[in-house]
Each structure stands twice: as C-alpha cells, then as structure tokens.
Assembly symmetry: C3
Homo-oligomer: 452 residues x 3
C-alpha cells in the first residue's frame, strides 16, 4: 500500500474495505440461494416438470443479473424520489462502493425473482416467464427497492425493512399469487381422487434446499446491514442471531402443529412442514432482525409458523393452486414481517412504549406493496395472456413441460438399468399396465434432450 | 463512523470487528454442516427411513438453537468452574462479542447433536429423539463445552482441544454408541442373507455430504481460533492448512486399505470408504490443528483412517449395529484426536521434547468425557425407555418410519411416471411379484404426506 | 494484542490480516468446487458409472492436496524462473502469507485436476487415473502456475491471466482432450441407435453442480486478487461483478442458441445447455475479470457461449467422445479467455488503443500451454497405456465401472422398495424382459459395496 496515505487515511480505507467486503461477500453467498430455490421448487413439483422449473429459476437468475446491470441498479441506488437515474449499465462504478452494493442488490433481486417463479410451475410458458422476469427485474422490483433502501420516499418517511419482509417477500409473493390465479389451477388439482399426485415429489431435495437457504438467509439478513466497521458489527451480529432463532422456532412450530393435527394418522411427521416452517420464521424476521431482542425473534418465528399454517388453509379453502406454497410462506409471513419493526424494534416499537407511529409507516408501506405488486403484475401477466405466452397448451401440461418441451425429465430416464435394458419406459409401461387402473397416464417419450 | 473515536480506539474497534466477523462468519458456515449430516445419514439408511432421519437432523438443529439461546450459551460461556451462570436467554449480549460467539457455539452445538443422531436412525421414536436432543443441548454438551472453552476446570488445567476432537466428537459419539446399543440392532442386521439390504442406499448423497462437510469443517476448525487480528491470522492459517491435509490423507488411507482388502473382489473401490476416511482424518486433526506442523497433520490423517478402519472391524465383531458408522468415525478418531495435542503440539508435545505432562492432561480429559457421556446418556435414554419413547414398534421398524409415520418416502413415490400411471407401488409390486422370492417385503402405501 | 506494536505496525498487521483472510477464505470456498465437479460429471454419465467418476474426483482432490503440500506449492510459489525451489513439504511457512496462499493455490490446483477428470469418465482405470493425477498435481500444472503467478518467465514478460483462463482451463482441458482421444470413444457412442443412452442421466445434479460452481467461481476469480486492503477492494469488486455478468450472459446465450436450433422440436429448452453456457461464460471471463469494464464482461459471456457451441459441434463432427463436454467448455472458452486481457483490459487492451503487444504476449502464453500440456499429457498417458493402466477392459466398460469394480451403483440399488421386495434387479429385469428388444443389456449384480 502506498506510503502517500496517512494513518487516518489508511484506517478509513480499511474501514471501507471491511464494509465493502462484507456487503459483497454476503451478496455472493445470496446468489447461492438460487440453488435453494431451484431445488425447493423442483422437489415440490411432479417429476414431469422438475427440469422445467429449474430452467425457469436458472433463467430468472441470468435475466436478473443482466437487467440489474443495465437498469435495475440504477433505478434502485441512483438518486431520485421515485426512481434512481444514475449508474445505468455500470456507469460511474470505478473506485466506489457500487461494485459491492451491485453484487448484493443483484443477488437479492434474483432471489426476489425466484419467489415469483413459484407461481409459474407446471403450466406456464417458459418464454412467457422470461418476459415476466424481465419486467420484474427491470422495473417492478427495482422501484420498490429504491423506495425502501435507495433514498426513495418510503425510506424518507422512516419505513424500516432491513432485508425485505415487505419489499421483497410480500411484494414478490403477491406477484406469484396473481400469476398462479391467472394461470388457473393445474388439471385435477382439486379432484380428491388425484390428491396424492400433487404431493411433493422429492422431500430430500426440499431438505437440501431449505438447509442451504437457512445458511444463505443469515448472510442475506446480516449482510443487508452493508457495514461492519465501527459498532456496526453488533448490528450484524444481532441480525445473525435473530435470524437463526426465528428460523428454528418457525420449524419447531410447524412440527408441533402438523403433529397435533395428524397425531392419529400415518403422517404424524413431515419433513416438508418443518422445512417450510423454517422458511416461514426466516421470512417473518427478515424485516426487523437487526433491531429486535432475541426473545422477539423467538416469538416472531412462532408467529411466522402460525401465519404460514393459516394462509395454507385459506389457499386450500379458496382452491388457489399455489404449487410450492409461495404465498403462504413469502406472502403471509412477509405481510406480518413488515409490521414487526413497528412492534418489536427496541427504539421505535409499540412493545417498547414508542407508540404506533412506526407501525403506521409500516402499514403504509404494506399497502403500497399490495397495490403496486397486484396492479403491475396483473397488467404484465394480462399482456402475456393476450400474446398467448401465459399458459402452455393442455397437451403440454398433461405430458409435463419436461417431456413436451425440454427433451426429457430431470432424472427419471435411464434411472434403473433394468428399465433401460428392457427398452425404456414405453416397454416397462406396457409390461406393467396390465393392471392399469383409473389413474390417468401421463405420457413420456424416449427422446431425450440433445446435448448439442 | 463517529469522529469521537481516536485512531487507537478505531484501530481497536477494527481489530474487534475482524475477530467478531471471523467468529460469526465461521459459525454461520458451520450451521451448513447440518445439511451434510442430513445427507450423510440419509445416504446411509434404507430408503424407507430417509425422510425420518432428515427430520431428526432438522429437528435437532432447531432444538439446539432454542436450547443454546435459553441455557446452553449461558452454561458454556458464563463464568463458573462447573457451569456458567451468565448470558441465559440472550441476556447481556448488547455491544459484546457474545453475538458472534453465540453463533459459533450454537452451530457447533447443533453439529455435536447431529453426531448423536447417528445412533437413532431407522428404529428410534422421533418424539423420543427430540427429548434426547433437548437433554443433549441443554446440559450434556454445554457443560463439556464450558469445561474446555468457557473457563471451566479442564481449561484451567491446560487441556487443549481447539475444535473438539474429544469434547465434541468423542463425547457425542459415545452418546451415539450408548443409544445404538440400548436401541438394539435393526431386524436382520446380522443375518448374512440380508447383508446387502443394509448397504448405503445412496452413495451420491454421501459424497455430497462429505465434500460439503470437508469445506465447512475447515471453517469449523479455523474459526475456533475466534480471532484473526494481530498474529492470530497465522494460527487460523495453520489450522486451515492442517485440516485440509489431514482430510486428504485420511481419504487416501481408506482408499488404499479398502483396495488392498478387496483387490480380488468386484468392490475394489468404494466411494463411501473414501468419504468416511476423509471424515476420519478431519475428526482426528480437529483438536490439535492450530498447534502442529504440516507433516503431523499428514500423519494424523493416516492414523485417523487406520483408527476408523479398526473400530469398524470391532463394531462388526461385537455386532454393534451403528448404521452410519458414527462411533468408528467420531468416537474412534475423536479418541485419538484428543491425545494428539500431547504428542504433536510444537510447544507442548512429546515429539518436541516437552515430556508427557500435556498428554496426561489430555488423557484426563478423555476419561472425563468417557464417564460423563456414558453415564448421562445412559440415564436419559433409560428414562426414555421407561416412558416408551425409545424404540418404535417392530411393525413401524419393518415398514420404515417414513411409511409408517411420515406419510411417505424421501423420494421414491412418483419417481417413475410409468409406475404412477400404473396405479402406484401396489400395482407395480403385484405385477412384479410373480417372481417373489424369500426376501421379505417391507410394505408401502400410497398415502403420502399431506402438505397441509 | 500486544501493546509493543505501534499504531503503524498494527495497521500494517491488520492490512495483512485482511489480505490473508481474503485469500485463504476464497481458497476454502474454492475447495467446495470439487462437489460441483463431482456432481457435474456424475450427472453427465450413465448411472452405471456415477459412483466411479465421483471416486475419481474425490481421489484427485486428496491427491492434489498431498502433492501440493509436498512439491506443488514449492514449485509454484518458490523462487526461480522455470520452477520454484522453496517451500517444499510446508517448509518456511511459519509467520508468512504462505498458509493462506497455499490454501488458495491448492484448491485451485485440485479444481484444475478435476477438469482433467472429465476425459476419464466411464472407461479409464481408477488406478491409472490416480497416477495421472499425481503427475498433474506434482509438475504438469504447478510449473504452469509458477510461470503465470509465481514469478516465472511468462509473468516477467507481462502475461495476464488473473484466475487462469489459459493457465488452468485451457491447459487442463487439453489434458482432458488428450486423455479422451487416447482412451477412445465409449462403445456405441457414435452409433445413432444408441444416441439416447448417452444423454445426461441426471440433469438436476448438473443444475446443483453449476449453480454451486457459479458462486464458488466468483470467489475463485475475486480471491485470485489475493488482496483487499488499500484500494484492492475495488479490483476484487470488479472481478466479482464481471464474473457474475459473464456467467449470466453465457447462460442466456446458450438458451437462445438451443431454442433457435430446436424451436420445432420437443426439446426446445435444455437445462444442461443453460448450465453449460453459464460455465462457458465463467471460463471465458476468468483471465481478464479484474481489468475489464462491465460491458466487456457481458460481451465475453456471449463469446464464451458461442465458442462452447462451436467447439461442441466440432467435437461431434470429428467424433471425439468427450462425455462431459470438458474441452468445449474449458478448452474452447479457456482459449479465447486467455486472449481477452489483450483485447479488453482497460490499461493494455487493443479496444482501448494500446496496440497488440499485450495480445501478443497472451498468444505466446496460449501457444506455450498448448505445447506443454499436449506433450506432457501424451507422454504420461502413453506410459500408463504401456503399463496397462489406461483403459478398463471391454467387459468392465460394458458392465459399468460401478458394477464391475465399485460394488454397486450410485443410487440405483434399493431405490424402489417394490423392486427390493421382489428380490432385486435380476428378478425385476426378467419380469420385464419379456418385451426385451434390441437395446443391449448392461448387467448388474446384487452385490453391493461393503461398508467395511
């Protein structure tokens, strides 16, 4: 390091270095959450759509990166009340904190986009989903991010949402909800006879996903402090601790709820419920985690678990087909998580005698996300519908997107050598089908994806 | 950062920041080891129990977090010779190193708890396992941690165990051993006719697990220095390097041993053996890794591999059914790993001419873990037995916990579309069973876990 | 920290700490790439070879660690024009940056070794592969690393290759190419009737692999700056941002190319193509990522994608059986990636008006890698051939290395309880085989790997 710098200068540089490193580092780890989303959704859907949903998550990752380079970061972090106007296409990055902040904001934006993908599984056109991702990553979400963290009007009002219970989870899950409603339910979804067919196809993938999301989520929340120097290390430490606790109490809450409801059944325990409860607690604590005490994180985890459970019942009651529980988890728990800074924040919350003003601001933000997300998503998705880019055809849905459009399933072909040696599925199927009953077949072909 | 601080103050803060960051950061990564344990054990057990063991690991993760928040951290890091009395339920955390140390200690505690779960697979009640986890995370392990790292009496005596070869691995594996002995062997485990049935069901999951554990383990060991500032970066660097080397030499040792023994068989090579050898080397170096030279790490990896191999033979000889090799890996290699600071430590070890005093202290610690762990685990497990919370019924064991209690398998249902289209397992089974031979069926039903 | 140090000293130590930490930290994360390589190759090969390729990757990881401790690091980082002569077997590490640099260089060396393994799948002797790994990690690659980063002659000339587009990817992929050519194509590989058999067996494993490689790759590239203090944080930030962007544009490029070519087929979309395009972009930007602007990274990702596509077509045209596309991805994109510092580097590149001198140096380096790698690999592999350690026998290849030498498949045995309850594969096969057609059987046995 040059000797031209004074000790004070060097110290300031070092503080910057640590802050940039922390922010950028957390951002890189948050990018790994895309693996979590791919396997969470892949584990939930039927095998005939496992490859296609991973394609969607992978594509929205790449699309988010390009959109955030071109316009998203400029909108989010540039100056302006409604939307930022600097930093488009990487301009003015050299020698600033923008590299590190771009990494964090972009990864976070990709994660938000993946939440929306939860509504798209098993029946949405892949091309249509790409267009929706472009819209989401170019303006729907970056503008929300600007309002909350980039110097926008909500931030000016004092809205608190550290890592986005409202801005990211609630807002994005509303997109998933609008999408899933406009796509309509999957065929036979609400026909009791076919209920088993819609159970998660691979619970180990869901476990892989949520245990890795748990770790990445901690960096997501703690990294959103974007600083460690000075006394900021304590804020990041508190965010870390609270995130871990809320995730754990959410997981245990769902374990208990599920056990109590099914205590006389053969499905007393459910790995998926524990995983989703874990996520529910994480979503619920995301907005408030740096400003609350540890007992509050424990309570928030329980409230998150209960909210997920309640919204899940509502979705079933109103027959909304949300294949990966995107809205109960991210929407329901994001909704309450956006309120918690108004309740539990040690310096602003109702529970600490600071009145309801902060909660009022949080409610305002919540209403804003509701209106913004529903309207914009509905418009974009309606345009896709007009263009014929929303639903796949009933034949493609029946066959599965993997077999109809992606050249083969995620990993069912060739799985068992005897099946291959017997000439593939078709032969096995007909060998078995002498006992064919009234469960519908969904076709599959031997032609697989071509590697080149 | 405020200008009220002097340069000296700022520098001190910055050193703290780096130390807290390192500790907390390593702690977060160690939490990811739960994914490793879930897939290691999931890959070892039969498919009919894959979901249930992942449930156990997930639950002990959540339970460890809550217990360490309420009492564990207070016992471990509070002041007192026998057990700490401060910091219960997150008290007195604000503005201290406690956030970062809580994260590390809690993640480490969750990992220790997962080692015990190795004894519980395929036949232990899930509810009973939860109670055992509460006991383990509330007092069995935190007290050991206090004695070693929290200012307890063993630490005062000079006991060295950086990241817990003795305190964590040996102690916890003794718990797994007591558990597996008191549960008894799985049905048909020692009947040669059924030997193949007990082979690992998914070696790729085991590979996924150990390659990710390898990386996390490095952070576990190096992070246990809990400091990087000043000259501590070198200690962390040495711990890192030695951990990598010992893991590699352990893996190669088992590759060679297995090859030599099976050189004329069709199973000359074994992925599982390499994975377990890798773990064996890691366990063996865990206690001494910051204080030894690189050649010693190489030797320790080999000794770890040999020890694992030897204990594995003993377990088979005495027909102890340890389904995931928890005791040979964590117990055997933890046992020797606890001695190595007395042998190889450059400032205290016999090999460097410092006499046997340090080894004496290490032996004392080892005996303490043996007595403490066996007695406490035996008592707790005996109480569970009396309460009827130890073994599942023979019917549940036969059917598999997944099918009997968890609503379905980890990922076998719906796996192959033709099987689903043929009406599910039952039909496939009867279509196939014309050739039914004397291998016992283990039933499965079409009812799957309900998502809500 | 001792009070003997002045503020200046402490500050210098702290800067060192941060630099060492960054380097070592990135190195540990890069080790996790071995998981990515194991699952990338495991997902590409037929099920009958999934365990064996993971064995190869695991072994080359362990071998690289031991070789880099004994000689690799000394050759790479010691002083000398042709090869370093210090630091063998960990000598002179104490109190230096060598611990942290050893970790990074060793992990990087293990990754390079895994690239070569791509040529070895499905037909190479495991023992033979071990010898090749020893050669690769002992001198073939460390000497290249010395020339580029360790003070060797190419570095003196001004060759730029931050994280090794040329030195690692191109050089290693040439090794894979020589290996795959000398091994010959897999049986029936170019017989159209069997084309489907050679499709990737598990696209979800490939997705798992590339999404985790994406994240680790960022640390690989940014960590290769080996410093964060002073103004170096900006270089690492730029490397991070550019790596993310190039990966994304590579993935999208292949999505578009594949869609366009197959727009009228049932395989319009391909998860594997997106994954490989992602990798292609990453390889292409690896050499230049700290010295280019963001738009250049976007362009490089596209060029990487096109290059991968083009080389893929060439490999098919010339019937080179490269089972995991190692050469099109690492070789093709490494080849162009090595040129880009001469084109896009803001301070040296043609596009910034600095003439062709830098490109000339890059071309020289490229020619050196070509000659060095082809000759050395050919010699070593030829020796293996003479010793009978190259190809497995046709019987072993037919049966699959897993079934012939590793005691069983990666996860096909016991997969479906009804199959086990029907007496295993053999019975299922004969029950099904009444419809046996002209697709060849590949046998499997019930004997599985023995755990001990």
């Amino acid at each position: 390091m040059s000797t031209d710098f004074s000790v004070e200068d060097k110290l300031g540089l070092l503080e910057n270095t640590i802050d940039y490193f922390w922010t950028q580092f957390a951002g890189i780890v948050v990018l790994l959450m895309q693996l979590g989303f791919a396997f969470l959704e892949g584990g939930c859907v039927r095998y005939k759509n496992m490859q296609s949903i991973m394609i969607k998550v992978y594509l929205n990752t790449c699309i988010a990166v390009i959109c955030w380079w071109l316009v998203g970061y400029g909108i989010c972090m540039g100056s302006g009340k409604f939307a930022g106007t600097d930093y488009y296409a990487g301009s003015n990055f050299a020698g600033t904190k923008n590299y590190s902040h771009w990494v964090l904001q972009t990864s976070v934006g990709a994660a938000a986009n993946s939440i929306v993908s939860g509504g798209a599984v098993e029946r949405m056109s892949i091309i249509g989903y790409c267009f929706l991702s472009v819209a989401f990553s170019s303006f729907i979400y970056p503008i929300c991010a600007h309002w909350t963290w980039g110097g926008g009007w909500l931030q000016d009002l004092g809205y608190i949402d550290l890592a986005g219970s409202g801005t990211i989870h609630f807002m994005s899950a509303l997109g998933a909800l609008v999408l899933t409603v406009m796509l309509g339910a999957r065929k036979n979804r609400w026909n009791e006879k076919y209920a088993n067919e819609f159970n998660p196809s691979n619970t180990t993938y869901i476990c892989l996903s949520t245990l890795s999301l748990y770790t990445c989520w901690i960096f997501f929340n703690a990294g959103s402090t974007t600083a460690l120097s000075g006394t900021m290390a304590y804020a990041a430490g508190r965010a870390t601790t609270n995130t871990i606790i809320a995730g754990a109490s959410g997981g245990l809450t769902l374990m208990v709820l599920h056990y109590y409801k099914n205590r006389n059944e053969k499905s007393k325990f459910s790995l998926v419920m524990i995983c989703n409860g874990n996520l529910a607690g994480l979503v619920a604590v995301t907005g408030s985690c740096d400003g609350i005490e540890l007992w509050a994180a424990f309570v928030i985890g329980i409230l998150g678990g209960l909210t997920y459970w309640g919204f899940g019942i509502l979705m079933h009651k109103f027959k909304v087909d949300d294949p990966v529980d995107a809205f109960p988890i991210h929407g329901g728990c994001g909704l309450i998580g956006a309120q918690f800074p108004g309740w539990f924040n040690t310096e602003k919350g109702i529970f600490y005698g600071h009145g309801a003003k902060q909660w009022g601001i949080q409610l305002l933000g919540t209403v804003v996300w509701l209106g913004w997300s529903v309207v914009l998503h509905a418009v974009v998705i309606f345009v896709l519908k007009i263009l014929g880019l929303l639903n796949v055809t009933p034949e493609v849905e029946e066959k599965g997107l993997d077999y109809a459009q992606c050249g083969g399933g995620g990993f069912d072909y060739q799985l068992l050598p005897p099946i291959l040696s017997a000439g593939g599925y078709e032969n096995v199927k007909s060998a078995i089908n002498q006992k064919q009953n009234n469960v519908p077949q969904f076709g599959q072909d031997n032609d697989q994806q071509q590697v080149l």
